[in-house]
Symmetry: C2
Subunit: 208 residues, 2 copies
Amino acid sequence: MSARFPSKLLEEAVNEFASLPGIGRKTAFRLVMHLLRRDSGEVRRFGETITRLREDVCYCSVCHGISDTAVCETCSDPSRDRSVICVVENVQDVMAVENTRQFRGLYHVLGGIISPVDGIGPSDLTIAKLEEKIREGSVKEVILALSTTMEGDTTNFYIYKRLSGYDVVITTLARGVAIGDVLEYTDEITLGQSIINRRLFSLQTGRP
Amino acid sequence: MSARFPSKLLEEAVNEFASLPGIGRKTAFRLVMHLLRRDSGEVRRFGETITRLREDVCYCSVCHGISDTAVCETCSDPSRDRSVICVVENVQDVMAVENTRQFRGLYHVLGGIISPVDGIGPSDLTIAKLEEKIREGSVKEVILALSTTMEGDTTNFYIYKRLSGYDVVITTLARGVAIGDVLEYTDEITLGQSIINRRLFSLQTGRP
């Protein structure tokens, strides 16, 4: 695919697609050829959506998640419990938690996770803003809902230390055997944690 | 990923990417999040390139390949041999043949391949235009360079029949064991063809 392109326009479009993560030059070419076969109005809309996305997108001034307005729908919803804040890495995680329909509090989007390897430190995240919210005094509980990776654990620990001087309960997601998991193939740390944190059997538990 | 999106703009961009072949909703989301982290000028250029691609792209009036001008560079190059036409399915194939640096004639891009399953018949392709070129009389050889699939063979056969009344030599790509192929794993039809079409051994053959 290192050949000279018959058209500069074509080459530019292939280069743009190939600059996306996980998209190689062959795939980029296939996508561009697909767009050339599509209706011209559809392709114009595609291009304009991308341009608008980057230019018009807002970040909610309360939770720092992506929003179309200065304060997002969730943060401006009066029925949400303002005394509980769920701390997540990004907007995908907000959507994942919202999907469970088990949480009625507010969110705080960190915008990433502490990762020295990638050069992301606490000051690159919205941790100071989170501390400000807690300092106000109306928040009773902070739920740390980060990935169970080393970076997630590091970030959890950092936030825990930073908020430990305030009058707020800090919780984290339950660790245990996932629903649908076969016990034999569950890793020993998860299984060990799920034995330590075992709870009284009840017919109401399990799948919602 | 069926969750309500926190932003309409975000949702639209995800939908656009997910409409591309081979890109699911999770990948689309990841690509959009990547664009949001990119420089705003870069993302604008991405969007504009896509819009321009579809609106400004030309098809060469001679070979019907993609071009920036009314007649493409290859077709307007006076050093190319106008008596030989290589018939290919699409512009990727033009690039593949050009890459070999073994062909100095002109191309004819069919714009597809006869495929009853996909509803593509001879009239959807540029076969009539090819016949016009041959009718003019200056073309001495037509090389059929289509894929060795059933659709490719059908298209080869159709073009062969259609051009058989004209004074033109019709050739096709050599079939044989590919360079680097292990004989044990070469399919029997290819291997059989390569025995029937065996040629005198020469130290010049093999890798270019």
